[in-house]
Symmetry: C2
Subunit: 130 residues, 2 copies
Amino acid sequence: MKVSNLPLGPEEARKVAGQLNYRHNGRVTVVVQDSSTGEVLMVASANREAVEKTLTTGMMYYWSTERNRLWQKGETSGHYQFLKELYVDCDFDALLVKVRQIGGACHRGYRTCFYRKLEGATFKEEENLK
Amino acid sequence: MKVSNLPLGPEEARKVAGQLNYRHNGRVTVVVQDSSTGEVLMVASANREAVEKTLTTGMMYYWSTERNRLWQKGETSGHYQFLKELYVDCDFDALLVKVRQIGGACHRGYRTCFYRKLEGATFKEEENLK
């Protein structure tokens, strides 16, 4: 399997970002997976600008619905994500990115945002993910 | 790691589904991962009814935005998904499910919906996923 040639130049990034379908409020869904362990770290969304910034910098950018602005993962925490591989789904409205995660992906201090597992009828925190 | 005790009874399922935050048009995002390989298969969304049906049957149900109705994965293709583990994220608005996938997850005949990988500035189909 070839390694993606990232980051891209601005023209190439515009071309790639232009192929996506931003039908969900102008955004695509982004599933983030740790490139070395395969662990799913988080899910977020990105508008076209965020996709282009990601492709031209090689670092993950998202659209923050809470703050209503472009958001670089790690910009305040230092927990940056370096893009290693990028996949698009059959509908072109979701991305799967494999990243090298600095620190924990979750702002609560966990390695992954999915740190609560359903055990019986109760969500239990998995302390070993801290 | 304990194995989740699935499926649940209707009361338990209602309780679990009631803890989720359906703030995105009444739905949660669902990331689907193969329980044995860790491969991300697809991303979809589920309303409260779909979550309850999933929990009471042990099989994956989603909300189809195209068909505007509850949808059991595999209902027409036979490519059912059996729920093995379920995680919720820090915001309670996204689920990560680990499933046993029957056949391919993608309606295009691929094992995963994420069968196109960015190589340079081009999305290339990975034929080995068929």
